[in-house]
């Protein structure tokens, strides 16, 4: 009997809200074909709750593939459409490598820490 995908969460995404409509998302595990939709859903929820300036803390992400990157790009577009922005922070070496390989580091500039990503939003 086939498993119902909708009932089984394959990735936990913790969300923290900060003053000024900033939402920090912390996905955990692999960000890939299986889990990309969880991130998209979390971002949609965070935007719907009124947070426009998002930070995705990738410290808990052990591995990312092009589907995971596509979810982050989609999230960036959604945030900008809502009048906000999205930043990514604390990428591991594999994530930074993938970002450079795809030239997406030009549109999704990685921040070394969440604090630095937050600091940019305060300006």
């Amino acid at each position: 009997m086939a498993e119902k995908m909708a009932e089984k969460k394959s990735m936990d995404v913790i969300v923290d809200s900060h003053p000024g409509g900033i939402g920090v998302l912390r996905p955990a595990g692999r960000l890939d074909l299986l889990t990309a939709s969880e991130v998209r859903q979390s971002v949609a929820q965070v935007l719907a709750a009124g947070n426009r300036r998002l930070i995705v803390d990738l410290a808990g992400v052990s591995f990312i593939d092009s589907s995971g990157l596509a979810a982050l790009i989609s999230a960036l577009k959604a945030a900008r459409l809502a009048g906000g922005d999205l930043r990514i922070a604390r990428l591991n070496a594999q994530a930074r490598d993938l970002l450079e390989l795809t030239s997406l580091d030009r549109v999704l500039r990685p921040y070394p820490t969440v604090e630095e990503a937050l600091a940019g939003y305060s300006v």
Partner: protein
């Protein structure tokens, strides 16, 4: 030339099986550590793993349209040689149709590129060789090669 070590798994071609593919890679690296004279470093392994994951995702996404029943399989074989590591994927799905070549012109804004479809280009960039063929018995085979340095 005989392989120094190898690892093989055959799993249903579903996204849930990506765990099994990463686990097979982990088992393979452990074998590589004890059989290859100069095992590759973490950066090298991460690039190879990225390529393997992208091809696996491509097969899972496209090879078996219209059905998610258990059964359709994906086989991954990993081989280590003194000078290179190779992977073979085999599946019984529909033939792979390469995307049309991108036209020459001003470099597209990466934000405007289609969100899917980067996977094969990523795999290619992580490898020294990536080849697809439709076999005589009507299955798909992907062959990945990455040379060990030094």
């Amino acid at each position: 030339m005989n392989a120094l070590t190898e690892e093989t798994i055959a799993v249903p071609a579903t996204a849930q099986q990506l765990d099994a593919i990463h686990a097979a890679l982990d088992r393979f690296w452990a074998k590589v550590d004890s059989t290859v004279t100069r095992p590759p470093d973490r950066v090298w392994r991460a690039r190879f793993a990225t390529a393997v994951a992208e091809i696996a995702a491509n097969i899972i996404s496209h090879a078996y349209p219209g059905g998610r029943e258990p059964g359709p399989m994906l086989r991954l074989q990993l081989y280590a040689y003194p000078d290179r590591v190779e992977a073979y994927f085999n599946d019984q799905g529909v033939a792979f149709i390469p995307p049309p070549p991108t036209e020459d012109g001003p470099e597209p804004d990466p934000l405007e590129l289609p969100e899917s479809g980067r996977g094969l280009a990523v795999a290619q960039a992580c490898l020294d060789g990536l080849a697809y063929r439709r076999t005589e018995d009507g299955t798909n085979e992907w062959h990945l090669v990455k040379r060990l340095s030094g």
